[in-house]
């Protein structure tokens, strides 16, 4: 689609003047020789390839690792803006955890008639064997990624909640490392909040959720599906930074009521498992009897307090976009406050009136599958061809519950570096939130995803989106 004239650029005002947050960056940028910047641009790519920060893209023939494009212009957020955002994020994450607890216990929100029961009854991520069980510390979503989009100076919206296994935090960390080595002078000029202690905070937060059976210092392990997973780099990176073991399902076994990992000295108990595998691959005895993956019996150990699984099984319920559409009600129900961060307006196609509206306005809307992710299986009305719209209409009509629709937002833009200098591109933001019984901890920054193509609104890395370092300025 063509850029909408009313889109909000985070660096430049419509009159061409520079917004305050970007003032220092802009004056630095104007002092730089264009050649030097171009050279730095290539250096960055070489350094990413060498260190192996790559991303496997599903559907590629050779299962090769690809680089996510990195843009070297930082996305800058002022201290005051960030403070406001964190309040909203914290409120939302608190509500998400309370909602999870309620869903797997008394279901008061359903009794109160605020959300319909079918919402989770039809949800494949709903796990009956979590009913009546409270995870150690009462924490369901230890690590959450809240996807935010912006449309104006004070207009931020939550686009998606990632409560199951949000990824991308390694890019937040590596992007910062790269920026610090490329432009050290900028950091002395600009006072940027550090992000590098995220792994330490993660380790601390996970340890604070250790199960009752823990003896001594909690042993934490990161559970990965293996090297062919698209986020393997991140799994290895986080384990490395936390000083935790990186385990696969085959390394783990249930022994004497604990989960043991096979070390060169025999099996040793693991207290907290930061799992980066789906629920289905956790326990073949509980979830998927045909699966050879997973650790047979781990759910029994979990329910008996022998291990902490982070995030808790069954948290995927909250990633459902039909649940998302009820988040304003959910936040209000559990916090007693109005949501500080609004949702994007959402039509539930399961409701006849909404469906009629969506069908009438397909060419203007974005339609998403309720269980979809990664930008797959969605329709972006304004850029779709007639034929794509017609095909999608048929899918929508045959299974309306499977879809929600949203207006095509005029996402804010940030400049990226191109051969011809700075050019605006659409962005979103995923801050990372850690939850423990002690605190909700939000790292100042996050992953900014950027659509590298001019005018494009798709920022997903699986579809050619890139990333930027996100700078929260110090007061």
């Amino acid at each position: 689609m063509a850029d909408t004239p009313d889109k909000f650029d985070e660096m430049q005002k419509p009159d061409g003047s520079i917004r305050t947050a970007y003032g220092d960056y802009n004056s630095w940028y104007e002092e730089q020789a264009p050649d030097l910047l171009r050279r730095k641009h290539f250096e960055a790519e070489g350094s990413f390839r060498r260190t192996g920060i790559t991303f496997n893209v599903y559907g590629e023939n050779e299962a090769e690792e690809r680089l996510i494009p990195f843009d070297m212009v930082p996305r800058v957020i002022a201290a005051g803006e960030w403070r406001k955002l964190t309040k909203g994020i914290e409120q939302r994450v608190r509500a998400l955890n309370a909602f999870m607890y309620d869903l797997y216990h008394r279901q008061e929100i359903i009794r109160a008639g605020r959300v319909p029961e079918r919402l989770f009854r039809n949800n494949a991520a709903w796990l009956p064997n979590m009913v009546g069980f409270t995870p150690p510390g009462g924490v369901y979503t230890h690590i959450v990624g809240i996807d935010l989009v912006r449309t104006g100076p004070d207009e931020w919206f939550v686009l998606e909640d990632n409560a199951r296994t949000p990824s991308g935090v390694s890019y937040m960390l590596e992007n910062r490392e790269t920026m610090m080595s490329m432009f050290p002078e900028l950091f002395t000029r600009m006072g940027v909040e550090p992000v590098s202690d995220y792994p330490r905070r993660l380790a601390k937060s996970l340890a604070a959720c250790a199960p009752p059976a823990t003896k001594g210092k909690p042993v934490v392990a990161v559970l990965t599906p293996g090297i062919y997973n698209s986020a393997y780099f991140e799994h290895a990176f986080l384990a490395d930074q936390m000083g935790a073991e990186l385990v696969e399902g085959t390394d783990l076994r249930v022994i004497d009521g604990r989960v043991g990992m096979r070390t060169t000295r025999g099996f040793q108990p693991v207290d907290v498992i930061y799992r980066r595998v789906d629920d289905d691959f956790l326990d073949p005895l509980s979830f998927n009897p045909n699966s050879v993956l997973g650790i047979p019996g781990i759910m029994d150990v979990y329910r008996a307090g022998g291990v902490t699984i982070a995030n808790a099984p069954g948290t995927g319920v909250c990633d459902d976009k039909a649940i998302y559409s009820f988040m304003p009600e959910i936040v209000e129900f559990y916090t007693g406050e109005k949501p500080l961060l609004p949702n994007v307006q959402t039509w539930r196609c399961s409701e006849p009136e909404s469906l009629a509206y969506v069908l009438d306005n397909l060419a203007e809307l974005v339609v998403k599958e309720v269980h979809g992710s990664g930008g797959y299986g969605m329709l972006i009305g304004p850029t779709a061809s007639r034929r794509e719209i017609a095909d999608f209409r048929r899918k929508l009509q045959s299974n309306p519950e499977n879809y929600i629709a949203q207006p095509t937002l005029a996402l804010s833009t940030c400049p990226i570096f191109t051969k011809k200098g700075l050019a605006p591109r659409h962005v979103d933001l995923r801050p990372f939130v850690l939850v423990s019984p002690d605190a909700i901890d939000i790292t100042p920054g996050g992953l900014t995803r950027v659509a590298m193509k001019k005018g494009s609104l798709v920022v997903n890395s699986s579809q050619g989106g890139g990333t930027k370092d996100t700078w929260v300025l110090k007061d």
Partner: protein, 314 residues
């Protein structure tokens, strides 16, 4: 450390060693072929393929031996499961598996080597580029070993990696000798005249031992001296005795770290009597071929015991 990670480190370095040794073999073959007429250079390439242990898979695909066919098969043929590229892929895959147990410097050395050689092998290798590829493989090995020496903790992971390196290296030297052993039999060397010393030179070159041997023997070249050098000289870093001592040292460190002697340590002690106390006369008396076969069997048994002692797979 996880058993799976220990396995990854062990095999990462076995594959690296194997890739390097294959490159050395190819290098010796290249040199030999240049100094021969067509018929005997074909014979030389056949011998290179055989020594690399790739005769069956090669002959499935080709029925002639030419230089370019041979080196492309050894280096990059997708139908060759033991091509140098395949081995380097395995090195890198194992490095990714063990990413947490290796230093960033080591990972970057492996990754850079892999990227460079993958690029070089993305198209057929010609006579004018084959030398560069062989050099790049050897340099890559040097870079990786150097990065490890300078940056890895001397904890168990290091010793698994080193044990893998020297088990593979000893195996490789033994295999080369076993295939060329007839050239080195005492009865054969008396004949002398039918085969010039060029063949002996190739054996030495295949293990990069030509210069070292000449230095230690003042240029005097004879079969008995070569056998002694390759089997028993503890100064030569690819001799069986040297590799054996290095494996033993690393297994001893592992036992110390774990506070307990394992079966692999016992097997190693048994093997000591077969190699540390050996003389070249005793080897010839026993039969060179038999000696080598026993050495290789004992090597395989030690490798299996390590995998079991340290729970590599189960």
């Amino acid at each position: 450390m996880l058993g799976r990670t220990a396995n990854g480190l062990f095999w990462m370095f076995r594959y690296l060693e194997r890739a390097e040794n294959t490159a050395r073999l190819l290098d010796a073959g290249l040199r030999m072929a240049l100094t021969r007429d067509l018929a005997s250079s074909q014979e030389e390439w056949r011998s290179v393929i055989q020594t690399a242990g790739q005769k069956t898979s090669y002959e499935k695909k080709f029925d002639t031996y030419t230089g370019s066919q041979t080196w492309n098969f050894i280096l990059r043929d997708k139908e060759n499961p033991a091509s140098v590229m395949q081995m380097l892929d395995s090195v890198r895959t194992n490095a990714r598996l063990s990413r947490n147990a290796i230093s960033s410097e080591l990972w970057e050395a492996i990754n850079e080597t892999w990227m460079q050689i993958k690029e070089m092998l993305s198209r057929p290798v010609t006579q004018s580029t084959v030398g560069q590829v062989v050099t790049a493989v050897r340099r890559g090995g040097t870079l990786v070993h150097g990065a490890m020496a300078g940056s890895m903790l001397r904890s168990e992971g290091y010793h698994f990696a080193r044990a893998g390196t020297f088990l593979e290296r000893g195996e490789s030297t033994a295999r080369i000798l076993d295939i060329k052993y007839y050239l080195l039999l005492p009865s054969f060397s008396y004949v002398g005249s039918t085969h010039d010393t060029g063949q002996w030179d190739t054996v030495l070159r295949s293990v990069s031992g030509d210069r070292g041997y000449r230095f230690l023997n003042a240029g005097q070249i004879d079969a008995r001296g070569i056998v002694e050098f390759l089997l028993l000289d503890t100064r030569f870093p690819r001799s069986l005795a040297f590799c054996h001592a290095s494996v033993r040292e690393n297994l001893r460190s592992l036992a110390k770290i774990h506070g307990v002697e394992a079966r692999s340590n016992l097997l190693m002690r048994e093997a000591d009597t077969r190699i540390a106390d050996m003389t070249v006369d005793a080897v010839f008396e026993m039969g060179l071929h038999r000696f080598l076969i026993e050495y290789m069997n004992s090597n395989a048994a030690i490798a299996a015991a390590i995998a079991e002692d340290y729970r590599f797979t189960g």
